[in-house]
Subunit: 260 residues, 3 copies
């Protein structure tokens, strides 16, 4: 990576890769995730009527990526709940967002400049999770490239992939749609990221891991912050899909996905 070397970015990438996510970045992840839960129609009412169902949904929003990755690799779905401090931190965030007097906490974190910073931090965690998911799967299956990509994808996309079942806890059931039929940008990006990290793990990419993580993080942060700031739902993958899909699948499949 000559460009990185010239710009002296490789050292920054290395330093960045050693940065700890807990508690600051994880906190941002929990805040933004549970914020999105509060945006869901009916979730505030559920939190009033049954705090336990609301808490379970909040935990899925924060930890579904770990739960899914553990299930996919045949481990206990509650494995991550061994980190009591993480669970308590997420629980505190859930409590503050839903029950804080005067809705103060919600108003603070939903204030656009704050939200943009938190969103940027969440994307940093997301990319780290994808990378760790691929490594985790690599330890279990040394040549299971498809497994690595799928686990990495689950780690990145998180609760989105099981949104049907998360909604079911809140008494909502929308079988006519799901994340596979209407992929959001983060889900698509997570899939792309998981494939890239798997290729890197297989040594088919001539670039070191911390550089891939660094570059992909920059892409995710810039894109997601821009999309959040402009309330845009257009995917940056749309032109690529519109070009590739008709060739491979004989139809502009990407066109439909823009409306989600």
């Amino acid at each position: 990576m000559d460009i990185l070397a010239v710009l002296n970015l490789s050292e920054i990438a290395l330093y960045f890769s050693k940065m700890s996510m807990f508690p600051l970045f994880d906190l941002a992840y929990y805040i933004v995730s549970i914020l999105y839960l509060k945006y869901e129609p009916g979730s505030v009412e559920v939190s009033r009527r049954n705090p336990i169902a609301s808490w379970m949904c909040a935990m899925l929003y924060c930890f579904a990526s770990y739960i899914m990755a553990d299930i996919l690799l045949g481990e206990s779905p509650l494995h991550y709940f061994n980190n009591t401090s993480h669970i308590l931190l997420a629980t505190a965030v859930w409590y503050l967002i839903f029950y804080c007097p005067l809705n103060l906490f919600y108003k603070c974190v939903a204030f656009m400049p704050v939200k943009l910073i938190l969103t940027a931090m969440k994307e940093v965690v997301r990319v780290r999770k994808i990378s760790m998911g691929v490594v985790h799967a690599h330890h279990a299956y040394h040549h299971g490239w498809i497994i690595m990509a799928l686990v990495g994808w689950a780690k990145g996309a998180g609760v989105a992939l099981i949104s049907n079942f998360e909604q079911l806890i809140r008494g909502v059931w929308k079988p006519e749609t799901n994340e596979f039929l209407n992929m959001s940008f983060p889900t698509k990006a997570s899939l792309v990221g998981a494939v890239i990290f798997t290729l890197q793990q297989a040594r088919w990419l001539p670039i070191s891991k911390h550089n891939v993580v660094f570059l992909f993080t920059i892409f995710m942060v810039v894109t997601k912050v821009f999309m959040t700031a402009t309330h845009s739902h257009g995917s940056p993958f749309a032109p690529i899909e519109a070009f590739i899909c008709p060739i491979i699948f004989g139809n502009a499949c990407g066109i439909y996905d823009d409306h989600d």
Copy 2:
């Protein structure tokens, strides 16, 4: 526990804790569980039209607590089915309740005095299951307090927590409600019990395990027998909830739950 010592109850509790559940108490558990399955609308018709679906539901009613706990701890969901004698006993109970000529067996066990005794015995098994669930999770995760409470809860509440999916086997789908949105008394009591047993396991309660089990069993037996005898659905937790919920969650969440 001075009171227990004075009343010489500690020895009774110790003796009680060594009492085997199989086959008598387990039998009562299977009978009452499958009785509740027969109360479900449409379950008799399913048993006529497709015995295999009916048998699967019956097995879930009897063993969902083991299946869930094993899944939550990353073990085989069929692990408990290794106890062939337990499965055959439950299968015999299922057969007698659904297909016994003249409905004789059903009439016997649904006769109120008999049913009350069986209900009492079922609650004994339930409390033992919660306690064993917490210990089981403790072996896997020595400091995973949240995991212990969740596994204990799953062991106590049993099929109720996955009732949506149990109903799905019988062709019934009610997504607008579930046990998390409308908790029944046994589910709430199981959660309370699981938290108490977890606190005891963590040595935060100055009381020995067999005493906790004994006292909680008495509470469950008395409450559930009283509720069954009076056909009551009011929860003894309602006043506590009505007091605590407005303080913590800013709203009388318990009020809604009384109607289930």
Copy 3:
């Protein structure tokens, strides 16, 4: 088995049991499975609009038996995806069936004589899977006869048992029916086969394993090819069910199942 010895079939059965399934028979299995996916209403539209959801359904059609068996035995549901070559072969079949120009591949394999040969080969794989499933469960639970039968059943019946969730990926939800309520012939036959193989594994049948596999394969191939050729949905088990069900379950349960 004197008859087999006289006909010199035992040697054929032994030779047959050593025959490798990969790649030819597995290829036939993938082709017929994904062909049935294409028959499902709406699946072609899904393949146009969202190839990833379509690919996931195709993988379930091909590998659900492995996924379910691994879940039931507490292993990683993605375990089989370690066989990258199998996944790539199934992916190639999926691509050719759904996206081949002029629908050429589909027309070739759906041409009746070809389809009959492929169906016969698929049944060979199915019986082998049931047998392997029972052995797999036997390794984990030496005396878990019920577990063996259930795992063998899951291996044989495949995606049918989880069709509700496979449909959910395509945005289709039919909770009023499922494979347990309306068993198709392959599902029933897989259950019968799993019970027979379990009895053989327990040494309760005086016949060697390769002979059971051989005879059951012949039964499955002949029945399924006949049913496919005549577009018949009548089950050869119907007369037996009509005889046994009224005696055991007090009602002609089989009568309803004929209509599926």
